[in-house]
């Protein structure tokens, strides 16, 4: 690319004009991105501030509690102390951690493998596969959990009946199957999303690179592992972040399984469920707000850590 460099005199002349153009451009840009920031403020920032406010208060009554209703009392960090000293809350993180160790690698590795297969020369009917893999992502989480709930309920499930014909009795609601059954639902839901992202970034790899590799004698497998995979590291890093945060926020699947008959998933099984139960079962909004804020803080720390770790590879 060649550019004509203006002489100093010409440059001095055009500077005010350039600034004016820049100012006009940024004003136009601002108008376009303002709606996002307005919505972001109203739907994300303000609720967080309200939650912070709620977390500082408690409802106190006295005696039997029937004389008129509770008073709202400022209690500072008392709700945070309640949450932090509650063993059930921290067990929620343990559950989520074990679940993440199982589900996140499967979601990432499985997604990469399938995306690379789709992109390779062996693939046929690419569009059909892509569509089929992506459809579960379109199904809302609660519906997905309900579908799998029916498939797990021993008395109703065709899977159980099929296994019984081979004299294998498995109780998919049992404690042993807790993590596999949960991971199964979320992998079914989100694998398609990861694959679409990986496939898109694989398509962005310039054809010259692929052709050069082919000329150098690389087979499909070698190409996938040594050429394509390193070039999509940024996308992998991004999906790793999304998947990890999604794992931390696990909510609708354990909720459906818990109320649907699971023998091991209680209604406070994940940190999000803990906050949900505090708010909508116990009407204790202060504790719910505190629990949610702590979860948000931990998720933010995790994101920062992951981004720092992924950064060196992104810059390459």
């Amino acid at each position: 690319m060649t550019t004509l460099t203006p002489s100093r005199a010409q440059a001095r002349q055009s500077e005010p004009a350039l600034t004016a153009v820049r100012r006009k451009r940024s004003r136009v840009a601002f108008v376009f991105i303002a709606p996002f920031f307005v919505l972001f403020l109203v739907a994300t920032i303000l609720p967080i501030l309200y939650a912070l406010y709620l977390s500082l208060f408690q409802e106190h009554a006295s005696g039997l509690g029937f004389s008129g209703g509770p008073t709202t009392v400022f209690t500072g960090l008392a709700n945070f102390v309640t949450v932090v000293t509650d063993a059930t809350y921290w067990q929620g993180y343990l559950h989520v951690a074990v679940y993440a160790v199982i589900a996140v690698p499967l979601l990432l590795v499985g997604g990469i493998v399938i995306a690379l297969l789709l992109d390779s020369a062996f693939a046929r009917a690419r569009r059909a596969f892509q569509l089929g893999i992506f459809i579960p992502y379109v199904v809302p989480g609660i519906i997905a959990a309900l579908i799998w709930l029916y498939l797990y309920t021993p008395q109703v499930s065709p899977i159980t009946h099929f296994l019984e014909s081979f004299h294998i009795t498995i109780n998919l609601f049992g404690t042993v199957w807790t993590y596999p059954t949960l991971a199964n639902i979320t992998i079914w839901e989100f694998l398609g999303y990861n694959i679409v992202l990986y496939y898109a970034s694989l398509q962005a790899i310039p054809r010259d690179t692929i052709e050069a590799a082919m000329i150098d004698g690389a087979g499909q497998f070698r190409m996938a592992v040594s050429i394509k995979l390193p070039l999509i590291k940024a996308t992998v890093g991004l999906t790793a972040l999304f998947t990890a945060i999604g794992a931390m926020q696990l909510f609708s699947e354990p909720l459906m399984l818990s109320t649907g008959g699971s023998s091991s998933i209680t209604q406070t099984w994940t940190p999000n469920l803990y906050a949900y139960t505090a708010a909508f079962t116990k009407s204790n909004y202060g504790v719910a707000a505190a629990a949610s804020l702590i979860l948000a803080a931990i998720a933010a720390l995790l994101s920062v850590a992951l981004t720092r770790y992924a950064k060196p590879q992104v810059d390459e």
Partner: protein, 426 residues
């Protein structure tokens, strides 16, 4: 009708609202909102609107209380747009009162008013010496069973829990895989009702303080009965309130449904292919005498924020006592409430018809059960405590908890929540 109740109160909205209840102005039209999940509500509301040109009720259907209805009500009240009148079951009423959402209707519930309802019902809606709701129905315990399969297996209809157990043992040898019941006590409402039936008292008040004891002798008797049923493999390993339980009923793998009077209207919808196969008897007891706790049963509460309390009370009273309120609900078997008002109960008894149950007189069964209804007090934490017990009961499936452990978990949660609210607990 309404005039007698209102005449007892002095008129004039200007007088202090604390001691004098507002009265209906005959020239004004009132618009009130009513939220409920109870069966037949829309029909009854239509009848009320037709009979009352000056009061118009707008009905909104909400999910059943424990499935999100109560959460919806609490959220709406917090947001300031809750309904004027709503249904609340007796276990959850103290919680709503303690959170300041319910209007004190002591001034409306004069002695004459209170006499219109069964004393146990009034008892359950009187908290801290004040009246908080108008009783509608009582969920007296009923044992529903598959009469055809009882005949097939030669089982006797149990009058005592010992007979229930011997039926279960007989089934185990006759046809393993078929059971009398599932865990039953993993449902906290049923566990409470069975403890109630046995004469337990989980909550009591001593002056201005609560007393909480889920592990008294009678509760432990119930716990050890059901624990031995579970440990000896006499119950179907399927949790309550799930699709698995319905499938077991549908496939004839579980022969009884341990529930209450209102369940009769739900069974035909859940198990449509079993018409004529289900029968009802009063719940077996430890002694064989009539004894019943309550599982469910709802009342009409008026929200504290309501601006039309006189109209609300008029509506609540009408819905719980008048013939035209009950007829559309029970005819055809759409609803089977055991009502706390004598007139309403006789209307329900006369008009409840259901081809599903054949010639059985279900209301005779309800009345027999109610004859043994015992005293009980609910504490102000039941939605949270029920969840704690339901979560703890999940361990019953693999034996990691026993039934008395579930009771202890419930007690611990109730005390914890009451202390968090700074109530006095002994």
């Amino acid at each position: 009708m309404a005039a007698t109740a209102l005449a007892a109160c002095s008129s004039g909205a200007a007088s202090s609202a604390a001691t004098h209840a507002p009265t209906l102005n005959p020239s004004e039209t009132y618009n009130i909102t009513y939220w409920s999940w109870t069966k037949g509500s829309q029909e009854a509301v239509n009848a009320f609107n037709a009979a009352h040109p000056k009061i118009h009720v707008t009905f909104e259907q909400i999910p059943s209380g424990s499935s999100g209805g109560y959460a919806k009500l609490q959220d709406a009240f917090k947001a300031g747009n809750g309904p004027d009148v709503f249904n609340v079951e007796y276990p959850e009423l103290p919680e709503f009162v303690a959170s300041g959402q319910v209007a004190d209707i002591t001034d409306y519930m004069t002695a004459k008013e209170r006499d219109m309802y069964l004393p146990q019902a009034i008892d359950l809606t009187t908290l801290g010496g004040k009246n908080w709701a108008v009783p509608y129905d009582l969920g007296v315990q009923v044992l529903y069973y598959r009469s055809d399969l009882f005949t097939k297996y030669g089982l006797e209809v149990p009058k005592t829990w010992a007979q229930f157990r011997s039926d279960a043992e007989k089934l185990k040898t006759a046809d393993p895989g078929v059971y009398m019941s599932n865990y039953v006590v993993d449902d906290p409402a049923t566990l409470a009702a069975l403890a109630w039936q046995a004469g337990a008292q989980w909550f009591g008040t001593s002056g201005d303080s609560w007393k909480v004891d889920f592990t008294d002798a009678q509760s432990m008797k119930v716990a050890s009965f059901w624990q031995s049923m579970i440990s000896d493999g006499l119950v179907a390993k399927v949790p309550s309130n799930g699709q698995g339980q319905i499938a077991d009923w549908a496939n004839g793998k579980v022969l009884t449904n341990i529930s209450a009077s209102w369940e009769a209207a739900y069974i035909p919808g859940t198990l449509p292919k079993q018409a004529g196969k289900w029968a009802a008897v009063p719940m077996p007891s430890f002694t064989g005498d009539a004894a019943s706790g309550m599982n469910g049963g709802s009342s009409y509460a008026i929200s504290k924020a309501s601006k039309n309390k006189a109209a609300d009370f008029e509506f609540a009273q009408w819905m719980t006592t008048q013939t035209k309120a009950i007829e559309p609900r029970v005819t055809g078997g759409g609803s089977s409430p055991y009502l706390s008002n004598a007139n309403a109960e006789s209307v329900a008894k006369k008009n409840f018809t259901s081809t599903y149950y054949g010639t059985q007189d279900l209301y005779k069964v309800f009345a027999a059960s109610a004859a043994g209804l015992k005293h009980w007090t609910w504490g102000p934490t039941m939605t949270g405590t029920n969840t704690a017990m339901s979560d703890a009961a999940k361990g019953l499936t693999d034996g990691s908890i026993t039934v008395d452990g579930v009771l202890k978990a419930g007690q611990a949660d109730a005390i914890k929540e009451m202390k968090a609210m700074h109530l006095s607990v002994q």
